[in-house]
Amino acid sequence: MSRASTTKLSPAKKDVDGRDKPGHDGGHWLPIALIPLATADTVPRAQNPLARPILPMDELPAHMRPERSFQGFILALQRFWAEQGCVILQPYDMEMGAGTFHPATTLRALGPKPWRAAYVQPSRRPKDGRYGENPNRLQHYYQYQVIMKPSPPNLQELYLKSLAAIGIDSSLHDIRFVEDDWESPTLGAWGLGWECWCDGMEVSQFTYFQQVAGVECAPVAGELTYGLERLACYLQGVDRIMDLNFNGREGADKVTYGDVFLQAEQEYSRHNFEHSDSEMLFKQFVMAEEACKKYLAAGWKSGSNQKEHLMALPAYDQCIKASHVFNLLDARGVISVTERQSYIGRVRELAKACGDAWVHTEAGRAS
């Protein structure tokens, strides 16, 4: 492919912090100065982080900088959202298709209690596996998820600041909010918002939840989802996810995304498309569905004059499980078009019942 059009735009990367000189790694180059180059700035400018809400990147060692290191990029987001008062959670310990399934979003979006959280969620989409051969498609990838309830009036500004924090300068880059209405038939959820574009590339989803698990959101929560690999490719100027520099090191110390995940993509693609045990999965679906209903039924506290539920979270785990098992079956091609709708409907019924239980728990209700 021609690089003529982009190489001339690529300024020589300067040694900005005087601590680490990155070698040119042959195939990879920065297409553009994503980060405003500091002018011989080696002195930390701000001691007080509150005085400079935007991450002082020029203080970071090169291998931690968001445009050189996948992990550095994630840490920059974590730090930014921590500064906005979010609790920084760790990924949920179950397989799921998107960060929205995490109970910290699905369930916490319900009920009147304020909630602000951010986390990375490994996301599995068995059908998207391509044996590691497609440059942009994976069956396992990371989403960065931010949820703020109620949605703050300056959520768009916060989002734009988060882009600045990872080095996307809005005076150089064309950032746009393009209509995208979000709907999850499996979660019984919908919201309005946008895809956020940076120079024509969709880098995030921005949604004001209106309904989740069949329950009206009151108040409405704002949700941001960053596709981490795609954004990192953009920041690092690489065309293939597998080529991402994971740890920001160079030479012998460098670990790429492919070093970490290529084998997994190959193995899981084989599993998802050719070998997953459909018979067992069909059973698992039914087991999860039944368990979910059983836990929901058992969770209602009796003898109290106020309706109360005591096991919404374990029940919801089974709903997550059913959803993932369905995705596996779907990838395996053993679910027909008409059955597909009915499976989605069954998962939605579980999600709705869990939502109904949740709003009768301590964290989900008014008082």
Binding site: H173, V178, D199, C217, V337
Partner: protein
């Protein structure tokens, strides 16, 4: 007179909703003003991604005073009635009332004067209601207030409102109102990135100018003009031509407040993909324009994007970013295209067995087989090779399962053509993939290749008969399966290609193709359905003729003859009839025939019988009768012969000969003769006029 300035400043409004929203805002506000007696001079609405704005000028400062009279009790009425009257009207005593006399006596009349209110107060009441009831296609709640019921909803979070009112010469006042915590004021904000600071404005001129200084082009048309002119200029400067695209231009202008047009390029190697695929990729996914070489009209490896900022590096980073995305997108498209080419179209067909076309009408696979069968039957009627037609119908839908069409559904058919050509199919067979979907609407081209015509007719007839059979006919404005379009398509295919296709027979045959030969569906009655469908065609034909400005009442006159299921002949008859009725002979003959018909129907009613059968020559008493009888005989045979030859113009000329005899007959002959047998004979003669004209149409169904 004072002007109103209104701005509703929000987060990004979807591009596709903007134009209608501006229109709705103008309509709702001005309708309300007029309803309140505030007749304005002019109004214009504007919209950008972040704001809806309206200026209304020349509004009176006050509503006109309203004078009304209210009738009270009679003089001397009981006190309770008087007190009630005083209370209702607000009069202090009867001294303030007028007395009016009417036939029933003297009554008290209260003259009520309702002083007009200040316009600004009226507007302050109108605007919150309009904001609360604004008809967005979808609206939402947000923020803390969304927890409460009755929270404001808007298309996206609404941040501020400007509402000022006042005459040109003075500083306008803020219209004071508040909606769900947002107070109307006179502050707005400039471009999100280029000039985000707050701006204080007074009136429209000031507002528009200050926005422009703050990098916001308020008028969507102005943004479109800028984008189009700059895009053309950029393309021209490099020796290319912009591929204009109004729909894309509308959308793009709704995504920016400060359009900055830039040109990028992609690798030449992608030009090996069909141009339509490149265009769909760049247009649908990236909202960019493509450019072509002026001589060949072929796409070049350039694209034009519209950014929303003046970047500090002149746009280099933006171009580079867009190029990266477009490169990735085109790589995908190229991969899809090339992998599609690896599978032959017919190898895709088994998969259609698992794809439901319609719950009640079976799978796509079954439908393809039905179309194949029907197309083969139609082929000889349109002069198409039967085997080739079968092949074309067999492959016509196969591209629906290709990757490229999966990605860009609007390329269905076209991709089938490319793939068919690539696998060495006959050119006409390949073309039918694309052309059998045509015509898509009244303005779309009608295919002429006989193969395409046969498959197109079969496709549309199968659709029509299928949905008729399951009773899913269009109703009112609802036509989810585009059946009206399909019927119009059939009409145009037949008429523009001069095809003789008996619709009733074709419909019966299509029923036999349905699952279980149509027996499954009560509505698929082979006797009834084709007739119903035929009258649907008649309606479509009328609509089409009306849209073309032609007489459409003649369609009924022709269909009333019965058995008219050859649409080409129907149209020919209608055309000839239309021309004939434009002449004096035609008009007079129509009048004469109508007169004959009217007399007949009156007498038929009176006698409770019809006057069929040949008149008795021996009963003719007058020359005019004999002349008419002779003329009828002559016209019948001449017109009959002409109709047999399908020469409707000649049939009409023959018919014209009837006119002098008819005129003379009515002039001199009294139909209702005193002798019953003469009367009967004359009525039979009148019936013969009607019968003679029925060679072309039922004249009684013609208007006028």
């Amino acid at each position: 007179m004072p002007d109103l300035l209104l701005e509703l400043f929000s987060e990004e409004i979807p591009a596709r909703m903007q134009a209608k929203a501006a229109d709705d805002l103008r309509r709702m506000v001005t309708d309300k003003l007029v309803a309140e007696g505030l007749v304005y001079e002019g109004a214009k609405a504007f919209v950008t991604p972040r704001r809806l704005a309206l200026t209304v000028h020349g509004i009176p400062a006050r509503q006109p005073d309203l004078k009304t009279e209210r009738k009270g009790p009679k003089i001397g009425a009981p006190d309770a009635a008087v007190q009630g009257f005083l209370k209702a009207t607000g009069l202090n005593s009867l001294d303030e009332a007028k007395i009016q006399r009417d036939p029933k006596g003297d009554f008290y009349i209260a003259l009520l004067e309702k002083p007009g209110r200040a316009a600004i107060d009226v507007i302050a009441e109108i605007l919150p209601v309009i904001v609360r009831t604004f008809p967005w296609p979808k609206s939402m709640r947000w923020g803390e207030r969304s927890a409460k019921s009755g929270a404001l909803t808007w298309v996206r979070p609404l941040h501020s409102i400007i509402a000022t009112f006042g005459p040109e010469t003075e500083d306008p006042e803020v219209v004071k109102f508040s909606i769900d915590g947002i107070d109307a004021g006179q502050t707005t904000f400039g471009h999100r990135f280029l000039a985000p600071a707050a701006i204080s404005v007074r009136r429209f001129e000031d507002y528009e100018a200050k926005l422009k200084a703050a990098k916001v082009v308020l008028d969507p048309q102005a943004r479109k003009d800028i984008i189009l002119a700059d895009a053309k200029q950029l393309a021209f400067a490099q020796g290319y031509e912009l591929l204009e695209d109004q729909v894309l231009l509308d959308e793009v202008s709704g995504l920016v407040e400060w359009p900055v047009v830039l040109m990028g390029s992609f690798d030449q190697e992608f030009l090996s993909i069909p141009g339509e695929v490149i265009r769909a990729t760049i247009r649908n996914n990236q909202k960019c324009f493509v450019v072509s070489a002026p001589k060949t009209g072929k796409l070049t490896n350039k694209f034009i994007l519209t950014a929303n900022i003046e970047a500090t590096d002149g746009g280099k980073a933006i171009i580079a970013g867009n190029e990266r995305v477009i490169r990735a997108r085109l790589s995908d498209a190229k991969f899809f295209y090339e992998s599609d080419l690896k599978t032959k179209l017919e190898e895709r067909l088994p998969k259609f067995e698992n794809i439901v076309f319609h719950e009640k009408l079976g799978t796509q696979g079954e439908r393809i087989k039905r179309i194949e069968r029907l197309a083969a039957e139609i082929a000889p009627l349109v002069g198409a090779d039967v085997e080739k037609t079968k092949r074309a119908a067999h492959l016509a839908k196969a591209d629906l399962l290709t990757e490229v069409v999966g990605e860009f559904p609007e390329l269905q058919g076209l991709m089938g053509k490319y793939y068919a050509l690539a696998q060495g199919e006959d050119a006409s067979v390949a073309a039918a993939s694309e052309e059998h979907y045509k015509p898509q609407g009244p303005a779309d081209r009608v295919p002429t290749d006989r193969l395409s015509v046969a498959v197109a007719l079969a496709d549309k007839l199968d659709t029509l008969v299928g949905f008729w059979a399951i009773d899913e006919k269009p109703t009112g404005s609802k036509d989810p399966y585009a059946l009206r379009r399909a019927a119009l398509g059939v009409i145009r295919l037949i008429v523009e290609n001069t095809i003789r296709l008996p619709i009733l027979k074709a419909a019966k045959s299509a029923i036999l193709g349905l699952p279980e030969k149509g027996a499954k569906y009560p509505a698929a009655d082979a006797q009834k359905l084709p007739g119903d469908l035929l009258s649907f065609f008649a309606d479509r034909l009328k609509v089409q003729l009306r849209d073309q400005g032609a007489r459409h009442d003649l369609v009924d006159a022709v269909f009333a003859l019965g058995g008219q299921d050859d649409l080409l002949m129907v149209v020919r008859r209608v055309e000839a009839l239309g021309k004939f009725l434009d002449t004096d002979d035609g008009k007079n003959l129509l009048a004469g025939t109508k007169r004959a018909s009217n007399i007949l129907s009156i007498e038929e009613k009176k006698d409770k019988r019809s006057f069929d059968g040949a008149p008795d020559v021996s009963l003719y008493k007058l020359d005019e009768e004999k002349a008419l009888a002779k003329a009828i005989d002559q016209v019948k045979s001449e017109a009959g012969a002409a109709v047999a030859k399908e020469d409707f113009a000649a049939a009409m000329s023959a018919m014209a000969k009837l006119r002098p005899a008819v005129d003379a007959f009515f002039d001199k002959v009294k139909v209702n003769d005193d002798e019953p047998n003469v009367r009967e004979n004359r009525l039979k003669l009148l019936n013969e006029i009607r019968a003679a004209t029925r060679a072309v149409a039922d004249f009684s169904k013609i208007e006028g």
